[in-house]
């Protein structure tokens, strides 16, 4: 028996696909349009069907070196070239380079009479000739149903269009066919969608006076694809689809911690900051220094050497810089060094999708590690609730997947009950939620900061008062008085009382010291007295002793002398001396 080595699991072979090069479309089609097969793009007027087709061709030529043929049934080559020139597509140049071939098919019913049987072999030959002369890999037919206005014999047309699709497949060219949307059906003739291998529906709708364009993949033979409606917009650089809701929750997480830019605030987090690549939300009522917090965060990011993108929807960059400079947050050097970029725009300038696209594109270009949006709540003014919510979801997802440190600020209404709620419901999306608020007390307002949530990290539960000085934000220590935490003037009063108490205590201590000193001095004096007394007694004693000794000595001397004199007078007899 042969040794069966375990074969590694092979990924399922995927349908070969041709990348469109259109921003976002390749993501939702999971790689592009079916290679060598026809794709139908349908939609009502003004959806950008032709644009999609042309961009598919131009990107194919420029990015993938695949020549293309555009067969236009409605517009002439010159018109088409003029229309897309604003997008930076130079069709005449591509034609001159033999990379593109424009073929305008003119159909005039008035010129044509029909007698008897015919087919559309002429169209096939034209197309085939165009494809073969430049070796085209991509073909766009815009809009094929115009044929129906030129010919009366529908049966022939239908069978010929079927044959055309078949023929294009056999040719192995990747084809995009555009079609007008019909009543209740995807196309007017209800034919093309069944013979296409992929159907993309473009939709243009107005909700609450705001136009949004949506794209949906209706079918894709032999491949999975994103099924949702994806917003797309037509930008200065062509079509841009936002496939952001297709993202899965599988972003990488980091154990690294980054500073918030406010040292005292960092200390409120167990790990000393926010997780790298996480999203944070700063909510607060008006004037609670949300922007200052955001700017601190930006400054800190720049100091770490990161690139930071700062979106402001309320102030101009100059205003922001000036305001932040007054509180010691000097952002200008980082703007000069190119690390910090401030993008200011009015939220109402664009629709939501465009904002999102702008943000996406700038992030793509600038590749920042930190993104700040101040404030997201302003975007509400340009969209309905659910739209804003879904857009923010997509944005937060996008930033997380990119591993970007994100900080959003949001204005919340001052109503006490709603103070800790965000309208947009994004609080559940963010990892960290910091709330700043007014602490209104005896005739004054003070600012308090607290952490409402911090995923994966223990954090302080205190509401800390903070002040904005010339060196930025500083958190004050918590002072607990009889009625809760003490802020502002009360804090000052408390402080003064504290000082008075300390002074009194110091004075008391001093007095005690003096007392002690005095006592010691008295004691020392007493000791000295006693010692003097003792000395005098000792002296007396010594004097007495010495007198005694002297007397004793004198007496002994006298006695000795007396003894001598007696013995001299007496005869020397042995027993004469006994008494």
């Amino acid at each position: 028996m042969p040794n069966q080595s375990p074969t590694p699991l092979r990924p399922l072979s995927q349908l070969p696909k041709a990348r469109t090069g259109i921003e976002g479309l390749d993501e939702i089609t999971e790689g592009g349009l079916p290679l060598g097969r026809p794709t139908l793009v349908c939609g009502s007027a003004g959806c950008g069907k032709t644009l999609l087709g042309i961009e598919f061709l131009v990107r194919g030529i420029l990015d993938y070196d695949e020549p293309g043929v555009l067969m236009a049934f409605e517009e002439t080559a010159a018109e088409l070239a003029a229309n897309v020139a604003s997008l930076g597509f130079d069709l005449p140049q591509l034609v001159a380079d033999k990379k593109l071939r424009l073929d305008h098919v003119h159909i005039d019913r008035a010129e044509i009479d029909e007698t008897g049987e015919y087919d559309l072999e002429g169209l096939f030959i034209r197309l085939g000739y165009a494809i073969d002369t430049i070796g085209a890999k991509r073909v766009v037919l815009d809009t094929i149903e115009s044929l129906f206005s030129g010919f009366t014999n529908e049966a022939v047309l239908r069978s010929e269009i079927r044959r055309l699709f078949r023929w294009l497949k056999d040719k192995g060219v990747t084809t995009v066919i555009t079609a007008e949307r019909g009543e209740g059906t995807l196309t007017r003739q209800g034919l093309e969608e069944y013979v296409s291998d992929c159907v993309i529906l473009l939709d243009n709708r107005v909700i609450d006076q705001i136009t949004t364009r949506r794209l949906r993949i209706v079918k894709y033979r032999g491949s999975t694809h994103g099924t949702n409606e994806y917003p797309y917009i037509i930008t200065e650089e062509g079509l841009s689809v936002l496939p952001v809701t297709s993202l899965k929750l599988e972003h990488n997480v980091s154990d690294e911690v980054v500073s918030t830019g406010v040292a005292d605030l960092d200390a409120m987090f167990r790990r000393g900051g926010l997780y790298q690549g996480s999203s944070s939300l700063v909510t607060g009522t008006a004037g609670t220094a949300k922007t200052t917090l955001a700017a601190s965060f930006a400054l800190e990011a720049c100091r770490r050497g990161e690139r930071c993108l700062f979106f402001v929807f309320e102030e101009s960059p100059a205003q922001l810089l000036r305001n932040m400079a007054t509180v010691g947050l000097d952002l200008q050097p980082f703007i000069d060094s190119g690390q910090l970029r401030i993008e200011a725009s009015r939220p109402t300038l664009n629709g939501l999708e465009r904002h999102l696209v702008t943000i996406h594109r700038l992030i793509g270009q600038f590749k920042p590690q930190t993104v700040i949006i101040d404030p997201i709540s302003n975007l509400v003014s340009v969209g309905s609730h659910s739209e804003v919510s879904s857009m923010l979801t997509r944005l937060v997802d996008f930033l997380k997947v990119q591993g970007i440190n994100a900080l959003f600020t949001a204005l919340v209404s001052g109503n006490r009950g709603q103070q800790e709620m965000t309208d947009e419901g994004i609080s559940s999306l963010v990892d960290t939620w910091i709330h700043v608020r007014d602490l209104e007390g005896v005739g004054e307002r003070n600012r308090g900061i607290s952490i409402l949530k911090a995923r994966g990290m223990a954090h302080s539960n205190q509401v800390r008062e903070f002040v904005i000085g010339e060196q930025g934000i500083r958190l004050l220590d918590v002072l607990v008085g009889p009625t809760g935490i003490i802020t502002g003037a009360s804090r000052l009063a408390q402080h003064i009382q504290e000082q008075a108490r300390q002074l009194a205590a110091a004075q008391e201590a001093e007095r005690r010291d003096r007392d002690l000193e005095r006592k010691r001095r008295v004691l020392e004096a007493t000791i000295a007295n006693l010692r003097t007394e003792f000395e005098s007694v000792e002296e007396e004693l010594r004097r007495v002793n010495s007198e005694e000794q002297q007397r004793h000595d004198t007496l002994a001397e006298e006695r000795r002398q007396l003894g001598h004199s007696i013995s001299a007078q007496l005869p020397a007899t042995p027993n004469g001396s006994g008494a």
Partner: protein, 96 residues
């Protein structure tokens, strides 16, 4: 006489049944109504595909009346006698 000279072009794609029928039909009409006053050019697009664009040919077979102006196109195998004559505006010229 020269202004009465008709210029006709018949576009075909190979020797298909439709093309052959069209050619046969056309020759019959021309011989009958335009004898000696027409020039017929037959273009096989399989051999000259580049010519299809010039006359905006889509359907095969297509008969194009280049002269006299305006340009007229008749598509199909020309089997309907009446329609061809009306389409080419032949009746008017026919003295009979």
């Amino acid at each position: 006489m020269s202004e009465d000279m008709w210029e006709l072009r018949l576009y075909v794609a190979g020797q298909t049944v439709k093309s052959m029928t069209a050619l046969a039909n056309l020759k019959t009409y021309c011989e009958k109504h335009l004898k000696g006053r027409y020039r017929l050019e037959i273009i096989d697009l399989l051999e000259h595909p580049q010519l299809a664009e010039g006359d905006q040919i889509l359907a095969i077979p297509t008969l194009v009346r280049k002269v006299p102006a305006p340009i007229r196109k008749i598509i199909g195998d020309l089997s309907n006698h009446e329609r061809v004559l009306v389409g080419l505006d032949l009746r008017a010229l026919d003295p009979s």
